[in-house]
Symmetry: C2
Subunit: 238 residues, 2 copies
């Protein structure tokens, strides 16, 4: 029996693994910017925003600030970038609309087909640093057929802290070895494996566009190594 035969739930990293956040931001903010007369290189803006993601979560991870959901961290980073880019005339409704671009991210082309197949046999859900409201709306926007929304907010810890993985497994009454994390990032899988989860690497070599530096391939012999959710479904017997 392979290690993966015991798996009852597949939980997914979301940003980059399930959805193409970078192209979605460039297109969505580009349209909004054109309407509002904002001039920017939106690819650079998207990369700058994402660049503030880990430092913002670090403040929570190291205890310097209390638990704070990603929508709030995203908004603080956005306000900084709006000042840096010199955008003027953006009121609360505009800023809220821009911030909610993270609720309007498009799935990679084969994500929904693969998830739909996996759902027939496994519990499927996000195990993301995104908050529950963000992930719920993103699922409705993109048609992601999750069974349950798990991750950082549900477990009250940001990945790669162990509690993010262990708390998510516990919330669906499963032992770590009954849960598989699916991610396009070797570092996320390494942290999950450390807590006892099974692991599946799905290559997403276009996530960072021309700036991708890592995760072109699996660094280790994860339980599954593949290049799409449809192939993941096949590997998992669906």
């Amino acid at each position: 029996m392979a290690a993966k035969d015991n798996v009852q739930a597949l939980l997914f990293d979301v940003f980059g693994t399930v959805v193409d956040w970078r192209t979605s931001l460039i297109e969505d903010l580009g349209r909004f910017g054109a309407e509002k007369g904002l001039k920017a290189d939106w690819a650079t803006f998207a990369d700058d925003w994402r660049g503030l993601y880990q430092p913002a979560m670090d403040e929570v991870r190291n205890g310097r600030r209390p638990w704070t959901i990603l929508d709030v961290l995203h908004r603080e980073s956005l306000d900084k970038l709006i000042a840096k880019y010199g955008f003027t005339g953006l009121g609360e409704a505009d800023r809220d609309h821009m911030n909610r671009v993270w609720h309007r991210l498009k799935p990679w082309p084969e994500s929904v087909a693969g998830l739909t197949r996996l759902k027939t046999r496994y519990i499927i859900g996000p195990l993301s640093n995104g908050n529950i409201g963000l992930l719920t709306r993103m699922a409705k926007f993109g048609g992601l057929p999750w069974d349950v929304i798990l991750g950082a907010e549900a477990a009250r810890a940001y990945k790669p802290q162990p509690q993010a993985y262990l708390g998510s497994a516990a919330l669906i009454n499963l032992k770590p070895e009954q849960v598989m994390l699916v991610a396009a990032h070797n570092s996320d899988l390494a942290a999950a494996a450390e807590t006892g989860l099974r692991t599946a690497f799905v290559a997403r070599p276009a996530e960072y566009g021309p700036h991708q530096k890592r995760d072109f391939k699996a660094d280790r012999d994860w339980d599954v190594v593949t290049d799409s959710f449809v192939n993941l479904a096949k590997a998992m017997g669906c």
Copy 2:
């Protein structure tokens, strides 16, 4: 503009409102009992088990015991009933199977059709005292198309405590008046209304079989009063 025009999410009481727990228990445990040679009036057994539900949660509500999920409370009650009924020879796997009957409850006949229509326009999810793992598996068993699993475990409070309602709304970034509780129980709706939620009563006069004593009709002028999820969908513009 009616109060309900502001609603973005419909959250549902589950036991009795979405699923027919009593008939499900009688049929499921009746089959299991026949296999195992257990003799009982399974309707009485089901009613006895449900009768231990509120007292078990009271121990958590009043702080005499720390947060404990419903699966654990159900199991403690089951073990008491197994002793009371004099069932012998039931090992851990048998007891676990019996306890998970609460994960195998059948929806009322029109539940899935109504939810499917409501899902096109609203965020839909359970706001139940059931734990996340229980509700997730029940949804897969019965085909309930939830967007998100909320309720007691997510909010860390058992209904009718205010935090159960307020915490569930907050987890999807909504104000109380943007959330409607759907329930077949007037007392649940009264507690939800007290915290600012909108309310919909759906009559389920067969929930308790021949022992139903209350909730045949709405006690108050709730925002919606109806008799099925399909009619609820119509009332909510779906």
